[in-house]
Symmetry: C2
Subunit: 423 residues, 2 copies
Amino acid sequence: MVERRVPIPVHEAVEQVVAFAKERAMEWVPLEEADGRFLAQPLVADHNVPPFDKSPLDGFAIRAVDTEDATRETPVRLKIIEEIGAGQVAQKVPSQGEAIRIMTGAQMPEGTDAVVMFELTKEISEAGESFIEVKRSFQPGDNISFCGEDAKEGTPLVEKGRQIDAGIKALLATFGYAKVPVYKMPKIGIFATGTELLEVDEPLVPGKIRNSNAYMVASQVKQIGAEPVYLGKLVDDFDQCYDAIATALADVDVLVTTGGVSVGDYDYLPAIYEKLGANVLFNKIAMRPGSVTTVAEREGQLLFGLSGNPSACFVGFELLVRPFIHVGFCSEQPFLKRVKATLGRDFPKPNPFTRFVRSQVEFKIDRLIVKPTGLDKSGVVTSLANANGLLMLPGGTRGFQAGDEVDVLLLKGEGGPMPLSEA
Amino acid sequence: MVERRVPIPVHEAVEQVVAFAKERAMEWVPLEEADGRFLAQPLVADHNVPPFDKSPLDGFAIRAVDTEDATRETPVRLKIIEEIGAGQVAQKVPSQGEAIRIMTGAQMPEGTDAVVMFELTKEISEAGESFIEVKRSFQPGDNISFCGEDAKEGTPLVEKGRQIDAGIKALLATFGYAKVPVYKMPKIGIFATGTELLEVDEPLVPGKIRNSNAYMVASQVKQIGAEPVYLGKLVDDFDQCYDAIATALADVDVLVTTGGVSVGDYDYLPAIYEKLGANVLFNKIAMRPGSVTTVAEREGQLLFGLSGNPSACFVGFELLVRPFIHVGFCSEQPFLKRVKATLGRDFPKPNPFTRFVRSQVEFKIDRLIVKPTGLDKSGVVTSLANANGLLMLPGGTRGFQAGDEVDVLLLKGEGGPMPLSEA
């Protein structure tokens, strides 16, 4: 018996899925553990940065007016009346002809308005007192980092929904966030389906293959900032499957299954969705691989039925689960980055569906070049390991040729070659 | 007293540092915990993938020869003698005119050499027996995923030194790596220096600022796949500093300090390197920010003396510590990815040193556009939070103009806007 399914365009599938995303609840985590989490409140400067006028270098805090007439031929002599390091506050206020030795980061002493760096002075000791000679004039404000020049109190610095990285962490520390407001990580349950699946530590036997999808999806879940919960393999028994899924739905925020959504005799998921009373949003997407990808919804909870083919499973996760989770984190960039690139080789086979081809993207001087990394078959696991992008070829009746401009979804930032030459 | 330091070019600094990198020791970690770690052995296919000829779809396994004369007008009728799901092995061998119902992923039954998908057959029940009608001829090999077509036994699939991601994890699972050989994570000790530093949970007081560098560097350490060990603040006392550093060197693989490497009166690190008997590789790099960056070596162990200015500290880590660690992981891409981009605005100030400017990179249709994210001052922490690249401007006597072709180091992959339209 052949079931007829109506494929919907990829962007419609994405739109339907993200329409169910709700802003997640917030929790406070220690700053040390905040890497990779998503900010649940905007980060606002609660004080000026720097919080006071300070010296950006090692030198002498002076009154600029004292140097008005200084030249190489007629240097001005200033008496050093105190010395302060960063974190110290000067006790004295220089009068005419006086200066304070100051280190990088120290607060500008009262009465001073410029800093002369060590290199531009000559130090002199006389009768137990210290002096410097300054050979040029300075303007008020020379070599000062002004209070608030980096950030004024009240300025919003980072919007909510941003993923915390090293730079944001530096800001959080600057503004005293010992604990950070972040979105709670959703728990994403993962079921693999199929009696052909062996666990990773089982030896191969005829007719069976190892379960690679569950590990791959768990890795993708971590990558997007959520918590994977591997729930094991579903067996080929309808009632046991149903019970396992119904139980899991109470424990996780989102459920991902791999396999079992096709039209095969043992593909129970469609019937399970029905018995759960879940609303099937779609059960076919006009894309390759992964056309049988199914998403169902029950009381606002989503069940992602990804394909059992590794590459189709990978693509389905990135196209659907990633934006659903990231919209819940209020990210303004919830999707894989999409860029234009030049196709590096012919791709002659037309296909009525949009294709997502695991590819390698190279950054050339004036453009990106994209080349498929392997066989264009959805079961091919090896091509995934060398892909840093998904080439996106629109469906239609024609193939594509080297030199065509195409879209690519970037899977990750990545390293570059050694060494760093200056050229 | 002004110390004269001789600046060396950035690439020389990088080369000197990575010359001390040695391949790290290996350890075995559970596959579940392998994300982000670096492979310490190449991943080789220890069996063919698929391990047997299998059906890539739901349908019927047939003898192609039986369909030789099949046409729409004269369909061929085949008797279904058995039914197998994925993971099952057929017990029967079809004779002439017989077929086996087969599900996606199941092993091809002995005696069959092609698969007809459900959609191209008509099923018929007669006298308790099942038949299909096939209306066209098939060739041997039609619709079969052949043993080894994805990967042949013995093929090296992923070289050592690669960072484990979702795709590589799928391969590791496929080849039965319940435990994965990875390089041990180096422990990177982090000291902040400066009495001006408050801890993140301390209230602001005059002259002091919060310690943001230690948190930022800890985040960078995690990002490159190493383990941060925050050792606290060094106080402004030479002997205490010396003891703390000497003790730390016994506990960590690499030591990073922030601040204290300049020529200020409280910049003890140069003297501490001397007392430790450490060999100072360089104490000035021809770059902005971070020209005072110092690296010393003692018995093969490196001490990175990064600047206390947040941006200079960030840049110093990415340019020096990152490649040092990643070369130890045998990565072939140990450096930040370097790409060409078009400068998006004028940058008129010339500088004799190479500049690394925190910037935002935009991917346009035919090029990347790069724009500085903030003030070009090394103490400016806010610009780091919005940077996804470091614009690299060579030193010289001229400034740069919008439209100039420049180099950019990409700091990360990142998200894209919603939604995914097909256009």
